[in-house]
Amino acid sequence: MLIADHISHTYPNGVEALRDFSLHVSRGQFVAIVGPSGCGKSTLLRILAGLIQPSAGDVWLDGERITQPSPRIGLMFQDAALLPWRTVEQNIRLPLELGRKTTWRGNGNSEIGDWRSSDAQSLISSSIADLIHLVGLSGFERAYPRELSGGMAQRVALARALITHPPVLLLDEPFGALDAMTRESLTDSVEDILRETGTTAVMVTHSIAEAVFLADQIVVCSPRPGSVVGSVHVGLPRPRAWAMESWPEFGALVGHVRELLTQPTPTT
């Protein structure tokens, strides 16, 4: 369970990004945070990731306080953030080569001490191949990022985030830079993959439809300093499909979230 407990954050330049923001995410749940630009959503995600320390409040993951980046939390940014000198395969392998390599767990079960051993290597290779297949990039293993479209690059970023089997995945507007068609097919894949792997997810987004499509719970936040305005439970059945967009329930949820977003904010 991931808990953000009364988080407030003010940047050194005096900008107050978050005020008393609390969030409870149960295991396997998908929570989307929706809010206007500059409501501190990205700040919140960076705090959850342990990349920055909040001015006040704590983040807990399964009873353990998060004060620095943890191997149990994966990240996906708006920018795919691929290394241009590495192939798709080598980009997905990157997390295993860095600091956390000793804690890599095969398929989430067995701990592998020395990742350089040939046993570990073949396990890793097959694991990468599985992931490439899962995100739908078979045949592009040896392609370089410049040869990929924006959507394909994000698929690589997703596979890279999942290679360490993190129980929690944080997504910072991962579909923000994509065209509508690519968005739909990628959100479809993400929904499938996170459901199959049972990954807990927190996503920050501008798009209400995207939030309704992916999330179990939508948290609406106020303009800066960001705080929780309200929360909407999404009861749509899974697996989700974009055809549901025409369902009355879908429309009602979108309307509800929009209403919360446009509520006049109290002046204090």
Partner: protein
Amino acid sequence: MVQGAVLMTATSTSEALATRSHGPAKQVMARHPAASRFAPLISLILFILVWQLLSLRYPPFILPGPASVAERIVEKLADGSLIVHIATTLSEAIPGLILGALAAFALGVPIAKSPLADRLLSPFIVASQGIPFIAVAPLLFIWFGSGLGAKILVCALIVFFPIVINVIAGLRSTPPVLRDLFRSLGATPAETFFKLELPAALPFIFAGLRVGGTLSMIGAITGEFLSADRGLGFMINLGNGLYDTALVIAGVLTIVLIALGIYSAIRLAERALRVERWAT
């Protein structure tokens, strides 16, 4: 033979330039492949023609014609002295380039990584660019003798600045989102340097090396002008003293060719590493 060599290098340089440019010139060339292939040849022939015509109007000690320059080169190749001069100059320029590049790394890395080092060292580095090396080189000869060492040092000093500037700019060019990624993956500082910052800096570093590589010839010649008994700079000086203008021009042409060769070699290394793929 000499003209053949000039031609080859000229073609490869224009290719190197063409791959960098994305302007209208490239589009025109793309539409006229024949023109693009023969353009360097045509401009070279025109150049030699104009040179030949001009040389007819002046006595040879002012402007010798292309033929007499070619004759001088062949003559100096035949008696083996040109090879000795080239080897001497390269034995100063290449170690100078390597020394200057190493120094640029040794100072550029801490400056890029540490604000304190930046504030301590940057003023000296910028100031070093203002040093008139031709005027200071005699000092180096007084301090270090007039042998090979001092000449390598002059080269290293001239080469240092463009490389250090590019090392610093390159190491600072890492996109912030990639830094976040590496932090979130728990990368150690060494991992971040070798797997992220250094590869991301390579296009800059190679740009610095290309400029430095051609400057290293100028460094070597500067040293040889002041004190030498062999080397291309010495040969040119000798030609000047004897009013043997054909020899002077032969020396200059040789230097230009070697500089182009160094440039091309660095460019080849860059291609072998596929640095062009980087463009983020």
